[in-house]
Amino acid sequence: MTLEFFLGHVNYWLFIVLMMTGFYIVVSRGNYVKKIVGLNIFQVAVFMLYISIGKVTGGTAPIFPTNSQGKIKIDPEIVYSNPLPHVLILTAIVVGIATTSLGLALIIRIREEYDTIEEDDILEIEAAMAQAENDEHGSAMGGRA
């Protein structure tokens, strides 16, 4: 693996670093808001992958030049970047926003019901609820609730 190879793919390395950072935050953090932030970083990393794919060496912005009458003048000499990944990522950004806002809305409701957004505390509360159910319904039936 030469230095050239490494530098030439620098946005792909950054994509991997960013993706794993986000993923690690989702897995390791107990705070629900922090988890959502991690999920966001994870999703944004993918945007970077797609935009990197769209880059064509020496390519310019994919807008056809027009002449003075406003007619499109296509010059086969000009190399354009691939616009399709950008369009796809616009959709993915919308999806990301929807996911984030829904996640945050759920956190607000969780805060109202549990009075905390720390996973450890919530698991404790839920364990207590399961224990209570077990005492009420489970023991008579010889199993756990």
């Binding site: 993706m19 993923f23 989702v26 629900y32 988890k35 999920l39 994870f42 999703q43 993918v46 992958l49 797609y50 794919i53 399709l84 990944p85 796809l88 959709t91 993915a92 999806v95 929807a98 996911t99 829904l102 996640g103 759920l106 956190i107 409701r109 969780i110 019901e113 549990y114 919530i122 839920e126 609820m129 159910e133 077990n134 009420e136 319904h137 489970g138 008579a140 039936m141 199993g143 756990r144 609730a145």
Partner: protein
């Protein structure tokens, strides 16, 4: 040339537009419900729209039942540049399952939702329900890889909302929805990374075109990585055994109507996507070369069949028990894929359908029990089989189908699976399938015992469920019996679908020659 293309794509009758109407009808119903905002109008609109979807799905299924396919070009843009909806035997079958389930579940939902969700949310609930239907059908019908992701997220986002609506009965629905959101989004993002890597290699998003360009690319590391990302990402949505953690809580705490719909359709649509990518986009040879089917999916499927069934036996909540049983049943479907033969795939397709209707019966019965007994813990539903004879009988039919007793739908799929095992020379696998069915006998028997042999709980209401719940429940229960006795329709449709899938991208040549012609111009 432009005029020639236009003439070619001019759809003269409504019939030509069926594939897009399938999606548009529920999709437009959702915002209409919200804008009109009348609670009393929400349900009728949702019901009419799902009934129309069912009619369209049936027409599509009849059109493609001879093994042909319909290619619909969105906006008249020919694939591979434009988005294509491609209906063949495999996805027409799943479309039928989804729209039929929606149509059957909605009448049931009317009284169940009224009982479990506050009035002010009803209009929005039905809007979300229609969005979920749209998303699931879109995932199944589309022939464009990125479109799958978009529809997947439409269905997932609305599913998280629907699950969280259970919070009015139990606040744990909120954390269940949150966990599902985190895991579902990770799964969808993995999937979209996989699509990105495929786009990187092939430069196209049309699945058929992608398949043609992937021929001979089996050794390409990027393609292998893409395959891994897609299978793991969709595996999260399917709830393949070690990726199933979101499922038990989401099914247990979601409102009964939502659980019924999700259990019968959501995981099934995801399994369809896995099948579509494994067998159409990546050629069967490629999948087989990587040994992923035999050495990863096979053992995991067996593990699911036993571990999840064992957990199900020790549950004391009927609804939670059914959730674990679903994970075990997904194991059967994955086993059919892992056996890698037409019979195995047929078994998967048949089980996909049969398990859908079986779980629909059982979860609707759960909804009826929640309405009358307050909850579904075994000590609360004691003796309810005698107080609610029709619901009890439906549970027995559903339970028998879950076990796979001859005469019920569940038997047919297990029979196909055993047959596939013998065909592949894995006679021991047949024994394992029978052994895991015995575990199902245990957990189903516990419910039947509680329902019929115990004295009723004093706090419960001892009347039969309302007619609006009984009728859909019995439509599904009779379907369980009907498809267990008359197997022609289901086996024909499933084996046509399996044949099409095993043939890989055969039948896509028309598209690629059209693409080549377009490239020449």
């Amino acid at each position: 040339m432009a005029t020639a293309v236009e003439v070619h794509h001019t759809a003269l009758t409504l019939r030509d537009h069926l594939p897009i109407l399938q999606i548009l009808i529920p999709f437009c119903t959702a915002p209409l419900i919200v804008f009109l905002g009348y609670r009393s109008l929400a349900w009728p609109m949702a019901f009419i729209s799902s009934l129309l979807s069912l009619i369209i799905a049936t027409m599509l299924l009849i059109q493609v039942s001879d093994g042909s396919y319909i290619s619909y070009h969105l906006g008249g843009w020919a694939p591979p540049v434009g988005i294509e909806y491609r209906v063949d035997a495999a996805n027409a079958f799943v479309l039928f399952l989804i729209s039929a389930t929606a149509t059957v579940v909605l009448p049931f939902a009317l009284s169940s939702v009224a009982h479990e969700i506050p009035c002010k949310n009803h209009a929005l609930f039905y809007a979300c329900f229609m969005l979920c239907v749209t998303g699931l059908m879109g995932v199944v019908i589309t022939g464009d890889a990125f479109n799958v992701f978009v529809f997947l997220e439409i269905s997932s986002l609305s599913t998280y909302v629907l699950v969280s609506q259970g919070s009015y009965r139990d606040k744990r629905a909120l954390t269940a929805a949150y966990d599902y959101l985190i895991m579902g989004t990770i799964g969808a993002t993995f999937f979209v990374i996989g699509i990105g890597l495929l786009y990187m290699t092939t430069g196209t998003l049309n699945m058929a075109d992608m398949a043609d360009r992937l021929v001979g690319q089996g050794g390409n590391r990027t393609v292998q990585a893409a395959f891994a990302f897609i299978v793991v990402g969709m595996g999260l949505k399917v709830a393949i055994y070690p990726l199933h953690l979101w499922l038990p809580s989401a099914y247990t705490y979601a409102p009964s109507a939502v659980t019924t719909f999700l259990a019968a359709t959501a995981t099934k649509a995801a399994i369809y996507v896995v099948l579509r990518f494994m067998f159409t986009v990546f050629q069967p040879d490629f999948v087989f070369d990587t040994h992923i089917l035999v050495w990863i999916i096979g053992p995991l499927a067996l593990l699911a069949m036993f571990a999840a069934s064992l957990i199900a036996i020790f549950q004391t909540d009927f609804k939670r028990m059914l959730a674990y049983s679903s994970i075990a049943q997904i194991g059967y479907m994955m086993l059919g894929i892992a056996m890698f033969s037409v019979t195995g795939l047929t078994a998967t397709m048949v089980h996909l359908f049969n398990h859908g209707i079986t779980k629909a019966v059982l979860f609707m019965a759960v909804g009826a029990l929640v309405l009358r007994a307050g909850s579904t813990f075994y000590d609360r539903i004691e003796g309810m089989g005698r107080a609610m004879p029709l619901t009890g009988a439906a549970i027995v039919i559903g339970g028998l189908s879950l076990i796979g007793v001859p005469g019920t739908a569940g038997f047919i799929s297990k029979w196909m699976l055993v047959q596939a095992a013998f065909e592949g020379g894995y006679w021991w696998l047949a024994l394992i399938i029978v052994a895991s069915s015995l575990l199902a006998v245990l957990y189903v028997w516990r419910v039947v015992e509680v329902l019929y042999l115990h004295t009723p709980h004093p706090d419960a209401t001892h009347t039969e469920a309302p007619l609006l719940m009984i009728v859909p429940m019995w439509i599904a229960a009779l379907a369980c019996l009907y498809f267990g006795l008359d197997t022609r329709f289901i086996l024909d449709a499933a084996s046509t679908a399996a044949d099409g899938l095993m043939a890989g991208s055969a039948g896509m040549s028309e598209i690629s020659s059209a693409a080549a012609a377009a490239a020449d111009h």
